[in-house]
Symmetry: C2
Subunit: 266 residues, 2 copies
């Protein structure tokens, strides 16, 4: 089957108006679909109100026991259930899941090397049977960025990675389109100018943009993740603003699409 | 099919050791099963740490907007996902759900009469198709005591009521046994003496015990709820301590069973 996987981040989730607008767009997306969300900013704010300071290394959260509890409450509870209820109101049969639910995503606690990330999981296996079962019933899985190790431990996991892992697992049997919504219009030549979007990126262009330091810091794991999905069989990978999701799904240029085949753009 | 529905409350959930013990017992329960949980004490404590004072009227929580957020985080997030992960570690294919997920339980916000309960829902419809689908796949639904109105609102709902409504809905087509675990050994003649259990209760005995004020206050809605389930077709209703669940499931006397047919016990 044809499956769309859409990932949203804090910039949509934290703004009630933007979230409503996005959920209306997402509801209009045709065919089988899956929504993946994090919720970092809200978790940080909430943790702070409990006296827990967020610790980040290279854009990744260090997850101690208290932070894991906060993340579980905010991602799997507050954010996930509100999204589900709002989609249900739009006649979308949404169902909220973490990786623990129905053993959707099994991970392993990240081994400690230079940095101890704490309760953070690296994805090992996606239960595609469960996803196929739900999609066949026209259920819309809404996946919160938490996994489990099947030994009783919940683990915090990057939402981009979860979207990408679900996409590549399903791509073995299905045609999968993967949409990353974020706070910019796509990959930008000038990061402060939304009209400087690179509409099509391949690894040659990517390497060039990295060399020129046009692409740097937090964008690098994001783009590595996107290319990884593409090379593992995902049909189409897109990066852009949530409000352009439906345009992108219709094949209209409104963000950055990822191209596998190398050719000379210069 | 034969389905066991087990409801646990704060006295099991709030005590990590008791919870582990209960989940091991629950895992040993044979056949199709559903777990329903609240988590009131933990939500109250957590709300207080955020400066929200719990308001109760007749054992029912008054749910303002902030309390609803806390309840959603604690019930659907922290408690639900920890139970799911711990059951997965026991080779139970648990899946956590609120009433919003897959439109499992539709409710309506309780109308304001004498008391404004706030964001509290009265159950209108249980999606038995979804439950049948999951049980057929040997998935164990773990239901948090939150429902939705299908218009985007999450609503706090009493966990005993949810267990009972799921049970009576499924009882139309299936053989349902309903187990209420709580902090006493059953209905007691002397509320401070766990060995004074009434092993079998019918409405004659219930009326008599109410007249004698042996049964009073919070026990009355609990027992009304149990009798209601029985009269609506649930095969067997049981009330007792979580640690006696497996004994009770094997038909051994270890708590209070509810009897529909009236006969003279005196």
């Amino acid at each position: 089957m044809k499956i769309s996987i859409v990932k949203i981040g804090g910039n949509v989730i934290d703004d009630p108006e933007k979230l409503e607008e996005f959920l209306s767009l997402f509801s209009r997306l045709e065919g089988k679909k899956i929504l993946v969300h994090g919720g970092g900013v809200m978790a940080s704010k909430f943790g702070e109100s409990l006296g827990i300071k967020p610790q980040m290394v290279d854009g990744r959260r260090i997850t101690d026991k208290e932070t894991l509890e906060v993340v579980t409450m905010v991602y799997a509870g507050l954010i996930n259930k509100n999204i589900v209820a709002k989609l249900q109101a739009r006649e979308q049969d949404a169902m909220g899941l973490t990786g623990a639910d129905g053993n959707l995503i099994r991970s392993e606690k990240r081994p400690v090397k230079d940095i101890d990330y704490g309760f953070v999981g690296d994805v090992k296996e996606v239960n595609t049977n469960l996803i196929e079962l739900l999609l066949a019933e026209n259920i819309v899985p809404v996946v919160a960025a938490i996994t489990h190790d099947q030994r009783g431990l919940l683990l915090n996991t990057n939402a981009d990675t979860i979207a990408s892992e679900i996409a590549t697992s399903l791509a073995q049997k299905h045609t999968v389109n993967l949409y990353f919504c974020f706070n910019k219009a796509g990959v930008l030549i000038d990061e402060n100018n939304d009209s400087s979007v690179v509409p099509l990126i391949n690894e040659d262009v990517y390497d060039e943009l990295k060399r020129e330091k046009v692409i740097h810091s937090g964008m690098i794991p994001k783009l590595d993740n996107a290319f990884n999905a593409l090379y593992k069989g995902v049909n189409n990978v897109w990066l852009g603003k949530a409000e352009n999701l439906v345009l992108a799904a219709k094949g209209k240029s409104a963000g950055t699409s990822f191209e596998k085949h190398r050719y000379d753009l210069y």
